[in-house]
Symmetry: C2
Subunit: 509 residues, 2 copies
């Protein structure tokens, strides 16, 4: 009997006649049954009269299957799904305001960005994978469509569709080589334990893929789901910068989200990324918030508002290009990673150092040249060791306009606190952005403070009286961790080195 | 005949009987006449039956004077006012959105802060003056009243008033020793070419000087004006953090400003400094804007709104104390100086490095320990050499809600610009704060860009085609200035070192 790992891919390869009409919406479905668990999986056409049905079992045991189709001969059979092994932990799922793997293993996103890496020459694609394999990153933002913008002028070798007689893209005629190549890269990422945050649409387009119209867009999405959803490491990102895809409407994005949510039998993570205003993540199909923002303090408001995990997927890139989004210092990026993680959010890396050959990591992959990566690895190790980050609400969380503030005696009897609540909304938000401190805990097991750009030489901590703590100082840039107070309880004065980029962690002994 | 320099002090010392009642509002006035120019100067009581009338002539020539008084014998006489010499350039005046000395010499404020330096032991006061004499600072923010807050717990030796029988301050009975000592310090500053930005009220008070009531406050101000307004280097600052002096109202501040404006015969610079919201500098008595803010980009809006020069008198301090306002890095402070100056504003320094003896420069003076001062001196030299800074309006200056934006075809036909105008006000302001670039010019003589925290390695400048320019790169931290393009015109690509704190200056040859 066929054996497949839990969360692995079982693939049925079937032969029949060429589809009559569209190559996408083919009549080829299999029903997989394991006890009372029943899953219907749509197949896809792969050219040369070949159909494939790919199934990712999410339960161990014997699965029976039965193919129903008007284009291939009906077949049936069974497979044994065995325990997952190695770094196969299944798809990442939402757990409250955090993530975890389907098998319950810890997953905390530390992503990077290489939008168009699969559209580059094979040698460069191989180099990118080599770089990724040695990196700390466990998620990769990447586009299905090729990309055309500054530093990205080269055409790809393969396109997702063939062209029709008039030279327009025919979404009903996939270029099977394109999809097979993409799948090879997904598999490579899967083997490295890297989630593929697949960007389905984006505005940086000279070929017309962003302007196909909703009907064609849905055909394309149908093929994506049929072909790619059995890859456990797939995440769906409807867009990079949805609001810059000027010819699509909010209704379009909602239609796409709804469609994928209905069609994807595994309910992979699904979100949409903004340029300026964040998306309305209250949409039931949105599993998490994927935002572009440089305002780390906003993580708190978004968690509160949407009650979903928040990934800051673009907080500008370490680099030296002229564009403002691509020239922050390595320190600033590491600083944002710390700030965002301590607010209970997750952060994604990108790198844009100019090169004569225009191979910038953020778009084409290649090699990493910056100084932030090893510091992100250092942070990742710390965050993984701490477990779930519970951000401590900001002292500026009092909204001047809400009733809770207006009736809170602690505020209205405190002249200073009251003055802040009387600021106009714009000023209030500037204060909050600028003055935010980053504090988190995990129950009373640890208390963590990241002091950002403050150069203070003292920190007064208020630890529980009833437990004993040991206090370490972390230098986020030098990547050092030093114990400064081996044993303390309650109010504790912690001496600090008086420089930017210091975190303090009190761990219960 | 008595000779006195233009903008010097001519002092009449008169003896009579002790005032009957208040020592402040004494009936002792002199009229000074020079041709058709006539000035009435009120005298003040100095104890021991001594009255003084101090006059700062603002025109050369022969001034005749005549004392009218019911407390001293009437006297008259004359003095010759001769040209000013040395570093005596007269009081600083407003000139458009800038400042200059009364004799037309260049004055660009580069201030520092030592709120309570005159309230410290004499040895420390002398040390402060020695430090100031070697510093680049040409303005000093200082309080008349002593100060009580964190790191400032010591009582001064002298207080401005005596106490009455009940132990309350009697504003009608000045402590003459206090005022004489203060005047000595004003004179010392004057000789060093340092403007004394005298803070008249402030909230950090354990003695009751902030709670005397409007009537007493005006008596105190009357004495200030009578005694101190003949010092050419006096500026009046109604308050440090007016909005934290919780028992005073906006009407009080307006009454104080109106009073000083009417009483001060020389119309010294007069402003008021905020904690949270900036003051309404449209008040006719306010000569300039004195603000506390960490939002450098706001300079532009305040210049536009108030049409008066803007000094950011508190943008947080270089230091290492726990309080957020006192622990920014030296680099950050230097960065803010550059940003604010290029926006056409002016910036004031402060330093708060913790010491066991609690002598922190920002309050008590002493010595400077930080790294920003020499870099501020470097900036000062550059700014003085450039002459008047004309800031180039921000590319984010389009207000989403104003009609000019709504009807501007350059915006409404540019999808990207339009998207920014549609942001909500809070988001728009965050973008502006974060993304601001700092550009200035002086006609077409020079073009200056400060790139802030951007690490870009290229800058495209658009210089006039019809003139020739030479381009220097300035490293604000390393204090280097290097010519990178000796000769260019029109569009020019400038290579940069790719680090934070870089300015570029194109000077017409």
């Amino acid at each position: 009997m066929n054996k497949v790992e839990l969360f692995g891919i079982f693939e049925l390869q079937l032969y029949g006649k060429k589809p009559n009409g569209s190559y996408i919406n083919v009549d080829c479905v299999a029903e997989f049954t394991n006890g009372c668990r029943k899953v219907r999986i749509k197949g896809f056409y792969n050219g040369n009269d070949e159909y494939k049905i790919r199934f990712m079992p999410q339960e161990t045991g014997i699965w029976k299957y039965e193919v129903q189709s008007s284009v291939v001969e009906p077949v049936c059979g069974q497979l044994e799904c065995v325990e997952n092994t190695g770094n196969n932990h299944g798809p990442v799922k939402v757990k409250g305001l955090h993530f975890e793997y389907s098998d319950g293993s810890q997953y905390i996103p530390f992503g990077t960005t290489a939008y168009a890496w699969t559209h580059q020459p094979p040698k460069l694609v191989e180099l990118t994978k080599k770089t990724l394999s040695k990196s700390p990153f466990n998620k990769l933002r990447m586009c299905i469509f090729p990309k055309s913008m500054v530093y990205n002028h080269n055409d790809p070798e393969l396109y997702p569709f063939a062209k029709d007689a008039e030279g327009a893209w025919d979404v009903h005629r996939p270029d099977f080589a394109f999809w097979a190549y993409l799948e090879n890269q997904l598999t490579a990422l899967m083997e490295m334990g890297i989630e593929a945050d697949l960007i389905l649409f984006h505005p940086y387009d000279k070929w017309g893929f962003s302007k196909m119209g909703r009907e064609n867009d849905l055909v394309y999405l149908d093929y994506c789901v049929r072909r790619l959803s059995s890859f456990r490491n797939v995440w769906w990102s409807l867009a990079n910068e949805y609001d810059m895809v000027f010819n699509k409407t909010l209704e379009d994005w909602d239609a796409f989200g709804t469609f994928i949510s209905q069609e994807d039998p595994y309910h992979h993570l699904l979100s949409v990324h903004n340029w300026l205003p964040v998306f309305d993540f209250k949409k039931p199909w949105a599993t998490h918030c994927s935002v572009q923002s440089v305002y780390s303090h906003k993580i708190e408001a978004w968690r509160d508002k949407f009650q979903k995990p928040v990934i800051n997927d673009e907080c500008q890139y370490e680099g030296n290009i002229e564009e403002g989004w691509g020239n922050i210092s390595a320190f600033e990026l590491v600083h944002r990673f710390w700030a965002i993680n301590l607010k209970g959010g997750f952060c994604t890396h990108g790198e844009t150092y100019y090169r004569e050959d225009e191979v910038l990591w953020w778009a084409k992959g290649g090699e990493l040249h910056g100084e932030s990566v090893k510091r992100i690895a250092f942070l990742k190790e710390i965050i993984y060791s701490l477990g779930e980050i519970q951000p401590i609400p900001s002292s500026f969380a009092n909204n001047p306009n809400d009733l809770e503030t207006a009736n809170n005696p602690e505020i209205i009897n405190n002249t200073f606190a009251l003055a802040f609540t009387k600021l106009d909304r714009v000023h209030f938000e500037l204060v909050r952005f600028q003055e935010e401190k980053y504090s988190a805990r995990n129950g009373d097991v640890y208390f963590l403070q990241y002091l950002g750009r403050s150069c203070q030489s003292i920190l007064h901590m208020e630890l529980p009286e009833e437990a004993e703590y040991s206090i370490d100082i972390i230098d986020i840039w030098e990547m050092t961790r030093e114990n400064v107070i081996p044993l303390t309880s309650g109010k504790t004065k912690v001496p600090l080195p008086g420089k930017e980029g210091i975190a303090v962690i009190a761990t219960r002994i």
